[in-house]
Symmetry: D2
Subunit: 283 residues, 4 copies
């Protein structure tokens, strides 16, 4: 039998879980795993259910059609996806390739449930790496004059390839508000600091100047407000007075890889729900 | 309105969650938080629900009486407790008082939801500490000859005070199988190693001899098999070649306090369910 | 034989270590442990030596007098202290006592090498705790009108008791620039955030609002610039979307205790050297 | 000016540091960084000095010849290497390539100071990965009958390529005592458990069966006693009851990569000194 993932959010009130589990029982579905959260600040309720059909094969479209009634009666924002469905993704990178290399290896061994539609870069550095994985490489250079065209190229590639998620794996260009707003909750960036500390440029140099004893990295959804998007995951590593900015950069690479890889996997497994400017992560 | 905690385990099959949420809807209860887990190895299903009455005050005895039918139909091992109910606990200690001091402070500021019926020790070291908290101190010395009497004394104190949980906060005497079996799942010990490494005596010396780079502590339920009971929580700290056994002991104290305090709090909040020789922890 | 701790900083140049080790060899001293660091940004050199006399007892004053020549020739800022010497300290607290309780226990079991001259508070909450440890408790209430007098009282207590270090263990009043400047490098504060994130008031509420996935605490020397003093130690703990501000506060208590206790111990063991607005920590 | 790394160990006695720093002053060398440790258990003294010539270029052979006298007078086991010298290494792998992929990327961006003489495997899985990095791939299959020949092949490759370090990056064959003894302190293995817990086969399954709350990985020198060699580095990650053995394996991959990469880098930077069955790591 196939498995499915149901995620939903809606205004909190009595009876949501019972309505959902009742629907599943009616359709002879078994709950493999279920998590829920009511945000008292916003009054919204969030739920993720991993379910499977108990006896007979289920059709995804039928299931969605049937659930629509439940969704409507609770004003839900809801999604049902096949567990085996693979999102199409794009990875963007500039000249630091550690996160790209890390994501590609995870993808190859099957630990990232996605199809990589391509790698986009404003540099040629990782073209041969892309080739060795047989992934299309889009070289899209950026100059102050070409920025608008380059962004349109990105949006075209996303549209033509039915890309659901764009990953900024140390892509060092700032996306315009236009792009951010066209792809809400669909761009994940890794920022190389423990946000909200050290926003902006050269965070490891900022960290060295301040003399912090731990450095961090933050994976977050991209919004039009730079470094202010909803945080998905953060990780830190210990440093000391002997670590100069290049050392922090080196130590930071491992932290960035881990934080970004977790955020991407959780997103692809439908574990991340956006709640205003924050995220719910059902791990 | 009062809150309640429902915990249950039973053989896994379709309809458990729906039956439970149906029961709650019938009794006009709201689900504040709910977690569940199906163990594929053992075929058992585990669930914890934090619920509250939606409109009218609920009587705990009525609720239990009503739920008995659901429990029976799924062969559940189940419990319902008032959220505000406070378990009665005993803390046992020998001559290392850091975990005791830590637990007492947490208790004083209200972060351990329990009533401390007393402190039992085979030494007098912490009598004045107990007095400063106005907690009864039972000095129960142990000699090879008096061991059986001392253990009977412990069981008597537990029975007379309706104690639900015994915490071995660096109590350095081994409890006999008789005591362990009379209080299954009701004794939590802190072992000062990252089990299953370094069972038995002087684990920090064993760790120093082996040259490990991290040391740990393990909070676990006590069973008749020494250091083999179900693990509730573990914590570690980094050490290096310069740390001798006394240093490891000092670093380890912090790790022990944290692991034990978390395990005790989770137990008191009904977050820990025993699953054979393992635990489910609904954090 | 007694042990001594030598710490020094000076402009970096060739021959410093050789001059120091030559001096020690001349005085028949053995190096038990030694650490050094040259800061390329500031051009200053830092060193800490744990030494002991090899054969005959050494007099601290004689040793200091003899070392003065070495110190002068390299323009050193240097200190020699007996390993067994205990600094006199003051702990200041308001109404959150977890760090105070933690420090007191560490002090009692001998893991904080200091004499506690007293506890100063603008509240009476911890008077009986101080009494149970037989430590003087100075109740110094603060009103907008009495602030200057209260600060003078603090400076008087420090002077009269020959206090070397003041610890702000969740003391919630801001010290004036006058006090900060009179006690440079002699006041350690614990700030309940991972600085430079969430400076100022209510950092756990700020952290909750931002939706961070880790919270932290920072122990630092106090300067006239609030929350900008040299960082000594930082620690973090993982949190998730389900943790509201009171939960963050509870989780944060453990992190604060650990960061502050480490910073204080390192300071008392002469492991922390101030390097401009940063610290060197020879762990 | 070139930098050099001096490492030494010898029986502990007065005057070692002074003799070494005196030698360096005589040769007009500046100490950039220095660490030392006296092991009270074994009575041995360990030291690492990062030095550079102050004015004139230094010849490595001259420096070694001159230091021989100091080394002899203290019965030192000592080494001097150019900071820029790159050790020749071999990486061995079976069918789990995450550590291999991780090491190769670190090597490419210059964060592993070594030349990779080749990759040896008993499988063909990573031949194209090796090709993409233009590194020789030695396919050396192993059967019970061919084991001796295969090991001789390994020793031959090591000898012909002047290989200084062999890295077992999830190489799942046990090396015979003959190989281990021919390459003492020159083989680093990553074991996928927090040793000494879960020695031997399938450690993640063992960890799952025991119900631990943290899993780990251990990088250690290989000796003839399986999983008993000197530990260089360990790392852990938090897991919970919901993580089955495949999940632990997936989480563990990240931990293995980190622990192995650190151990290898520290070894290559001459930061690891063997002290009996333990290691000194001058980080």
């Amino acid at each position: 039998m196939d498995g499915f993932i149901l995620t939903l959010s809606c205004p909190d009130r009595v009876g949501i879980v019972h309505a959902v589990t009742g629907f599943l029982a009616e359709h002879d579905c078994n709950i493999l795993d279920s998590q829920q959260f009511g945000d008292r600040d916003t009054g919204r309720f969030f739920m993720r259910v991993h379910l499977e059909s108990n006896n007979r094969p289920l059709d995804l479209d039928d299931l969605r059609a049937a659930f629509a009634r439940v969704g409507e009666s609770f004003s839900m924002d809801w999604h049902i996806d096949g567990e085996a469905a693979r999102a199409r993704i794009i990875i963007m990178v500039s000249q630091q390739g550690h996160c790209l290399n890390d994501l590609l290896y995870r993808w190859r061994i099957g630990s990232l449930p996605a199809d990589i539609a391509g790698i986009i870069s404003n540099h040629r550095d990782f073209e041969s790496l892309a080739n060795s994985y047989e992934i299309p490489y889009y070289y899209v250079p950026i100059t102050p004059q070409s920025r608008d065209d380059a962004e349109q190229r990105l949006l075209d590639i996303v549209a033509e390839n039915h890309v659901e998620l764009v990953i900024l794996a140390r892509y060092m260009q700032i996306l315009s508000a236009r792009v951010c707003e066209q792809l809400p909750g669909r761009i994940i960036n890794i920022h190389h600091s423990f946000l909200p500390s050290f926003k902006g440029a050269k965070p490891y140099h900022q960290a060295h100047d301040r003399g912090v004893k731990l450095i961090g990295a933050t994976a977050h959804y991209v919004t039009a407000n730079l470094d202010e998007g909803p945080i998905i995951e953060q990780e830190v590593a210990r440093v000391d007075h002997g670590d100069d900015a290049p050392n922090l950069t080196s130590i930071g690479r491992d932290v960035e890889c881990l934080a970004l890889a977790r955020a991407v996997r959780w997103h692809l497994e439908h574990r991340v729900l956006v709640d205003g400017h924050k995220t719910i992560v059902f791990r």
